[in-house]
Symmetry: D2
Subunit: 405 residues, 4 copies
Amino acid sequence: MKDKVVLAYSGGLDTSFCVKYLTEEKQLDVYSALANTGGFSENELKDIESKAYELGVTEHTALDVTNRYYQRCIRYMIYGNVLKNNTYPLSVSSERIFQALAIVEYARKIGAKYIAHGSTGAGNDQIRFDLTFQVLAPEIKVIAPIRNLQLSREQEIDFLKKRGINRDWTKMEYSINKGLWGTSVGGKETLTSNQTLPDEAYPSQLQKEGEETLTINFEKGEITKVNGEAFTDKIEAIKTIEGLAASYAVGRDMHVGDTIVGIKGRVGFEAAAPLVIIKAHHVLEKHTLTKWQMHWKEQLGNWYGMFLHESQYLEPSMRDIEKFLESTQRNVTGKVIIKLKPYRFEVVGIESDHDLMSSVFGEYGEMNKAWTASDVEGFTTMLATPMKIYNAVNKGELNLEDAED
Amino acid sequence: MKDKVVLAYSGGLDTSFCVKYLTEEKQLDVYSALANTGGFSENELKDIESKAYELGVTEHTALDVTNRYYQRCIRYMIYGNVLKNNTYPLSVSSERIFQALAIVEYARKIGAKYIAHGSTGAGNDQIRFDLTFQVLAPEIKVIAPIRNLQLSREQEIDFLKKRGINRDWTKMEYSINKGLWGTSVGGKETLTSNQTLPDEAYPSQLQKEGEETLTINFEKGEITKVNGEAFTDKIEAIKTIEGLAASYAVGRDMHVGDTIVGIKGRVGFEAAAPLVIIKAHHVLEKHTLTKWQMHWKEQLGNWYGMFLHESQYLEPSMRDIEKFLESTQRNVTGKVIIKLKPYRFEVVGIESDHDLMSSVFGEYGEMNKAWTASDVEGFTTMLATPMKIYNAVNKGELNLEDAED
Amino acid sequence: MKDKVVLAYSGGLDTSFCVKYLTEEKQLDVYSALANTGGFSENELKDIESKAYELGVTEHTALDVTNRYYQRCIRYMIYGNVLKNNTYPLSVSSERIFQALAIVEYARKIGAKYIAHGSTGAGNDQIRFDLTFQVLAPEIKVIAPIRNLQLSREQEIDFLKKRGINRDWTKMEYSINKGLWGTSVGGKETLTSNQTLPDEAYPSQLQKEGEETLTINFEKGEITKVNGEAFTDKIEAIKTIEGLAASYAVGRDMHVGDTIVGIKGRVGFEAAAPLVIIKAHHVLEKHTLTKWQMHWKEQLGNWYGMFLHESQYLEPSMRDIEKFLESTQRNVTGKVIIKLKPYRFEVVGIESDHDLMSSVFGEYGEMNKAWTASDVEGFTTMLATPMKIYNAVNKGELNLEDAED
Amino acid sequence: MKDKVVLAYSGGLDTSFCVKYLTEEKQLDVYSALANTGGFSENELKDIESKAYELGVTEHTALDVTNRYYQRCIRYMIYGNVLKNNTYPLSVSSERIFQALAIVEYARKIGAKYIAHGSTGAGNDQIRFDLTFQVLAPEIKVIAPIRNLQLSREQEIDFLKKRGINRDWTKMEYSINKGLWGTSVGGKETLTSNQTLPDEAYPSQLQKEGEETLTINFEKGEITKVNGEAFTDKIEAIKTIEGLAASYAVGRDMHVGDTIVGIKGRVGFEAAAPLVIIKAHHVLEKHTLTKWQMHWKEQLGNWYGMFLHESQYLEPSMRDIEKFLESTQRNVTGKVIIKLKPYRFEVVGIESDHDLMSSVFGEYGEMNKAWTASDVEGFTTMLATPMKIYNAVNKGELNLEDAED
């Protein structure tokens, strides 16, 4: 009996090569598995399955981890307003982790001796796969044929041709990775530092003119309604927002940042729903959370995003941060009003029973009901004390005029 | 001989009232002083001066602190990419501090017994004035007539009328504060949580169509060229960028945040140059700084902004943070290419000799020259070790499948 | 019918004065309340009660909040290894908050119109009381007679004498505040910067010689056993440790730090149990938590301590931090072995099923089982990449020899 | 002509093996280099040199980097009060980096093709060497014979014997690493979690009884006097303090923490001078720095220590942190009084012109001169506002009594 290998399979050239390579060169029983985090339609899934069998896999499985991906990741990225480098909603990086988790779990279930993936040696994904596999299943050996053989596309195509596989492997002008939480677009301009992607490079194109109001209701930080319609399935809510916002071509940008492999990477992305949701959620928080909740959420949310990106999702501190983030959401409940316009959107405002800008004690800048002139004088006297002492002790160090300008 | 009072004077209703009140009710010699941080034209300055004398001040002075404001504040806000709550460039709050500093310095110079300001008891500015005055000149007493008498506009106008001052004090629909680093717009919609300012509320209106390329050169974090033209005067450089960008009506947004007086405040602003400069600078940093420089800059830059906003500019730790920020800028040199479009702009890219996305060691995602497949395997093996041990010791705690979803 | 005032009563001179002052000068019905956080014996409680009635209170109540204090505060201070400025276990400051909470709750329950406390205007406690009262019962007015009348001890004694109260109010040489989580000692040397308290100033004196082993078992961060004996009552466990450790006169130190009122304060303390428990807990964590759990615990634990100290216990972010801290404790289970010696103690080591220093993968520095030489080479190659690129791009900036020494 | 290899040579078994292995098996010209960071006497240096020539090196050099080590590292560790995990002064780890820097600089100077070191594959040092070498001299290849050949001590001894080298290689019971900034002690008990080192394991033994006062003067954070005697050579000052303090056997402890290779490590150390200096410096800072300077120093100082430990000394952000730390020291000037006793020491107090506990505005807890009762009331009213609003809006969420205990 042959040994089993679970292959993280996508239907593309690299993983197609892997099937043939593993079955014929390595004499393994290939169990291809597609970990679906919400980026595939039914038809796409069927097509991938039939192609897998055609290549000779022993068994193909589609692992649906969309719900887990939402429950254990997207939810926290929203709570944490996670935008890497203030820009990027971790569209692809966060999904890879959940795909890796699904693959390793499946491999342990069927008692596979190997796990294989089609990543090259150039990017982040290989780390996300290898690391997750090693942590959770140190007994299973990882094979990464494309990386280890250092094959070019032409060599792969040639290898497949010789084994009777003649598909159209035409390389797209841009390498596009579509997922539930956004689509990344790489190639050409993204390999330079001084050019940006042309409009045509993005999968979604502007379809609407004028402007349109969109409302999103949150309850304890989670989406409950879109334009007044209730959603219990959060995935559906996200897809609905994506449908509305993507037609205005919003949520496009370029991310420049540090990769896990240590070099700077640059990638374009479109992520209409993630951007709209995070900005809306953030504004709702500005109204419902206190200054120090916002302060610490920013620290921990950004760190969470960084670790998620860098394949440290399983690090135990991530669970602790999730508890923190969840706790902060207890009053993040209300409606956010957004205006969609071509290529941009704005958050108009919010309505919430938990709005701390409530006028119970007066509006800012208007007649105040919560304090007197004398209270302010006392306040500033006390606030001034430490600096007053410092300046007295340190002989006027704080006086600007004494220093050169 | 009467006692001297220095009045922070702007020419508006509140400070006009203060002149009359201090001279006639308090029997003080009023030295009116306008602290100019770059928001006034020559004509405006003259007009303010003549109005001051008309009201009866003993002496009027315009204190130009524009350069100091740039050297000791704006520069660091750029280094730190300071946007409060990820949104607001501290347009007005940072200027107030430098106005207060100029006033207190002047008061000490002329031996004033009192300093007066026209702030009400409702906002942040009173704290910025009182606190700065107290820290640097605890021997000088602060008078804030509007706050302490709790006067309404009508009462002030009436008081002035009775003393022969009949000007047009018509209240503007919006309260507008114009400065070098942006203009704030308050009133009506900003007092609600669910409405946003209409286009007409903003002082600058869209004047251009189509798109236009703007380039900004930075050297060690400071602007040196705009569209190829060299600027040694950084204030002029900022004003030039403002002129170009404001005609596209970019840099508008709403800031919602915590005030020093403890309640939530909401204010609109337009800050074309600050937003364009900060975003451009930030992208240049993403290319030229390391991951950990970016990480710590974010912590310290945000804190710097918060303290600046909250009137803690004189706190000694601010000087330490400035040293840090300055040090990080040693390689932030290069050209940033921006595209201006109606109501929005995008950073196209950068060109820099210090670009760490340099292809010396290969581009991200392409064939790598800096490591081998085996290096990555070693890397992930080592990275995985702590979590592998954790999972072994803690009996599979990290395995997701064992937990409920 | 007279209005009710709840007086935070301790039986000392200041609060005795308050009873007489409030009943006779203010014509109020005084409800004296002693909020007990674990620092009083049964006899002390009875004595305080009888003295209260003797002074003329309408009703006296002892509010036992020891358990709440542990559940809602001490527990988190242990989880967070809270030592202010790396030294001080917040012995008194944390208790004041829970006393204030009990008082305001009681005042609301009996419908009091006023709350009174005996704090002077010089310290932190007045802030802790006032702030807590205002936040939770803005409708109740606070009276602080000693602070507002600025009375000297002599004036208070005189006032009481005139009303027939002749007790021995002899001032102690040191002001001592005894509580469950430590005792503070102020006066004489603590008012200087260059002297320390003599041994005799501390309430507990060295009673033992030689050395003694103490073991503490923790389960999820909470004490379960002391020297092998199980404790369900955590208060009893703490008192048992205190009994053992205090006889070795350990846990003494001086705290110098920033007070809420803005000046530096210096105070001696003895806190045998808190110091032993926190150090023991900390070492157990070093063995059972990951690097990043320790990293973030330090940030959040220190902040928690600072906010607790500064009367910000009710700030909503504190509840979020508690969730974080609690989550980190899931594997902090094991036995810690401590050696007590005169004036010092050392943590010998720990035993835990969750010890990550487990030899499953080899001991540090010994033959390793988890990686190969080649893995380390790959690891360092990858780790070196960003700095290698930086140095290449920035023309040898990292080479030390090129710079002056 | 043979290729040159620079060998980081210490005279021990491992590096002695390397000389023979590199000359005879690899046919290289060995340039042995001892990087001295202050832990060697003249005699030791001579002995090491003669042994090197005896083994057949082409040339031996002693590189004295003591001064650089102080200027570029120890100084900042003092500024930052660096104690890893609140315990360990990075005695050995920080020295390794400066040894590696000296070695790579020397290798570049003489045009070596290889650098060799004697580290095993089990510890942190290999990473410190490899990483530093790679970053600064990517063109030089690193050889680590002991690691790569996985040799046992016996095999090494045998190899040397066969080549006529018969020295006494008796393994010490503990592995001891002596340096300027402390000595580490590993072996036996440190490989367990539940035992501590016996007194005899430490190189320095208790030599004095009773107690002794020690004073240290700091100027801008650097030591200028010890017991009143001025020192311009900071290394001498440190050695003088070490001489005095070590005779009381202070500064011993166990460090448990995360290694760079990913597992937990435990090591004993004695570091009398570092501990005394850091604690003294820290107390001086508590008196001379503001709350927020202390706050940020703690964050950045701890991070600096972590990165130093983990071989990230060359990371550019470290230079930025150094600028921050240096800036904070501008007023850290004064005398610290310490009392040395057997096995422990206490900081008695400080004297400084920059002492913020100055009585200009009154002592803490005593009659205050800087504010009135009314000021405190205003202060607490303002401080209470955000929480008062929060509690009003969120229907009493902050009231503890409504929740279960």
